[in-house]
Symmetry: C2
Subunit: 237 residues, 2 copies
DNA sequence: ACCTGAACACCGTTCAAGT
DNA sequence: ACCTGAACACCGTTCAAGT
C-alpha cells in the first residue's frame, strides 16, 4: 500500500490533464486486478490494450495518452506492450483505426435508413450528418484520428484501407448522382469526394475546438448549412 | 567536449523526429554561443524564446517541441523560460499567436492587391486563397495553431483577439456583399463567416495531412474549387 | 511464447539559491 | 530583476533475463 499512497499524495505534474477523469485503477499496480486472468492468451492482451488506449484518448488525453498508463490499466508491465505493438505510435494507430471503422459503420447505418430512391444530394447530406455527429460525440478521439500524421510514413496500411473504403463509399454516391443526372456530367468524382470530406472535417474540427460557438443542440444544424451550401455548389457545377 | 560527444553518440529516443533537422547547436550547452550577449535585457529573451519555439515547431516538431530545447537554442538554462512564461503552453501560445498574426497580415496584403470595386465573391476567394497558401507554406505551424486546444481554458486572450480580428475582417466583406446585393438579403453573417472558415480549414488540413493527394502546384487549385462551390452555395442562399 | 525488472536518456515543473 | 542547479516524478525504449 505504501507505494500507491505515495504516488497518490504527490502533486500531479503538468503532463496530467486538468479534467479529473474517473480513473478506475481498482488495484495497486503490482497486483493484478481481481477477476482478471493471470496471463492473456494470444490476441486478448492486444485487444485489451487497444481498449485502454481508446478509453484514455476519449477521456481527453488524445494522442498524448501514455503507453505506460495503458499497460497499467490492463494490469501488465509496460514492457508487455512491446510484444504486441512495435511502439507507441502503433498502439495509437490501432486505436485510431477503430475510430475510423466506427465512423464508417455509422455512416453505413445512416445510409441504410434512407428511403429507397432518395435523391443524391439527400444521401450526401445524410453521410455528412453521420460523419459530423460521430466526430462531435468523441471530440478527443476524432482529433486523434487526424493528428499524429500517422500516414506520414508508409506504415499502418490498415488505416489507409479503412479510409479508402470510406472514400469509395462517397465516390459511389457521387457517381450515382452523375448517372441520375442530379450532378453535372463533367463532375470530377475524386475532387467532389474530397471537397465533401474537407467540408465535414472543417466544420467538425472548428466545432470541436470551440472556434464555432454553437449551442449544443445547434452544432449539427450548423454543419448541415455548410453541407447544403457545398452540395448546392457541386450541383451548380 | 566529453558531454556533447556522449549525447551525440547515444541513439536518439522516440521523442525525436525521424527528419534530420539542421540543428545548429553551435556551442556546447554550458558555454554561451559566441557573439551573443551574456544577459538579455528585458523583452529580448522573451522574443528569442518565441523565435526558437517557432523554429522548432516549423522544423516539424509541432506542438511537441520541448521547452528545454527552446532554451538550449537561445543559450539559457531551461529554468529561465519560466521567468517569461508561466509554462510550456504559454510559450506555445505565444508562437501560435505569431502564426495567426502572420496569416492575418498576408490576407490583408492580398486584399490590398485586389482591384477596387471587385465583386464580393472574388474578394472572398482572395481571402481564402491567402489563407490556404499560408497554411500550406508552414504545415507544422498551421497544425499547431489549431492543436493543443489553447482556447480550452480562458487563458491567452491575445490569441482570441487575433482570431476575432480575422473573423471580423471576413464578416465585413460578407456585409458588403449583402449591401451590394451580391449575397442574399437574409444572409446570417456570422454563419457565413464560419462556413468559409470551415471550408478553408478543412481543405488546408486535408492537404497538410496528405489525405488529399495533390501534386504540389495543384493544391491551391483544389482549395479554390472547394471555395468556389461554397461561395456559389452561399450566393444561392 | 509471453511477460518482467532494471536502466537510460530524456521530459516539465518545483524549490532554493546565486548575482 | 533575471538566471542557475539540483531534484522530482514522470516518459518511451532498449537490454537482458525470467517462466
Amino acid at each position: 500500500m505504501s507505494k500507491v499512497a505515495k504516488v497518490a499524495k504527490v502533486a500531479k505534474p503538468a503532463r496530467a490533464r486538468a479534467t479529473p477523469a474517473p480513473k478506475p485503477k481498482a488495484a495497486p499496480r503490482a497486483r493484478r486486478p481481481a477477476g482478471r486472468r493471470d496471463t492473456f492468451h494470444h490476441g486478448d492482451l492486444r485487444r485489451a490494450l487497444v481498449g485502454a488506449a481508446l478509453d484514455l484518448v476519449a477521456e481527453g488525453q488524445g494522442e498524448t495518452f501514455t503507453l505506460r498508463e495503458a499497460a497499467r490499466r490492463v494490469g501488465v508491465n509496460h514492457r508487455a506492450v512491446y510484444h504486441h505493438f512495435a511502439d507507441k505510435r502503433s498502439l495509437l494507430a490501432a486505436a485510431v483505426i477503430e475510430g475510423w471503422r466506427g465512423q464508417l459503420d455509422e455512416i453505413r447505418a445512416e445510409l441504410a435508413k434512407q428511403p429507397a430512391d432518395q435523391p443524391t444530394h439527400e444521401r450526401l447530406l445524410a453521410i455528412g450528418r453521420a460523419y459530423v455527429r460521430y466526430a462531435l460525440a468523441r471530440p478527443a478521439h476524432y482529433r486523434a484520428m487526424f493528428g499524429a500524421r500517422l500516414n506520414a510514413d508508409g506504415r499502418f496500411t490498415d488505416l489507409e484501407a479503412v479510409l479508402a473504403e470510406a472514400t469509395s463509399l462517397v465516390a459511389t454516391e457521387i457517381k450515382r448522382g452523375v448517372e441520375r443526372g442530379e450532378l453535372p456530367a463533367g463532375t470530377d468524382v475524386l475532387q467532389a469526394t474530397m471537397t465533401l470530406w474537407a467540408s465535414v472535417h472543417g466544420v467538425s474540427d472548428l466545432l470541436i475546438e470551440g472556434r464555432i460557438q454553437a449551442r449544443p443542440g445547434r452544432a449539427l444544424t450548423y454543419a448541415e448549412r455548410l453541407l447544403r451550401a457545398v452540395v448546392v455548389g457541386l450541383t451548380a457545377g
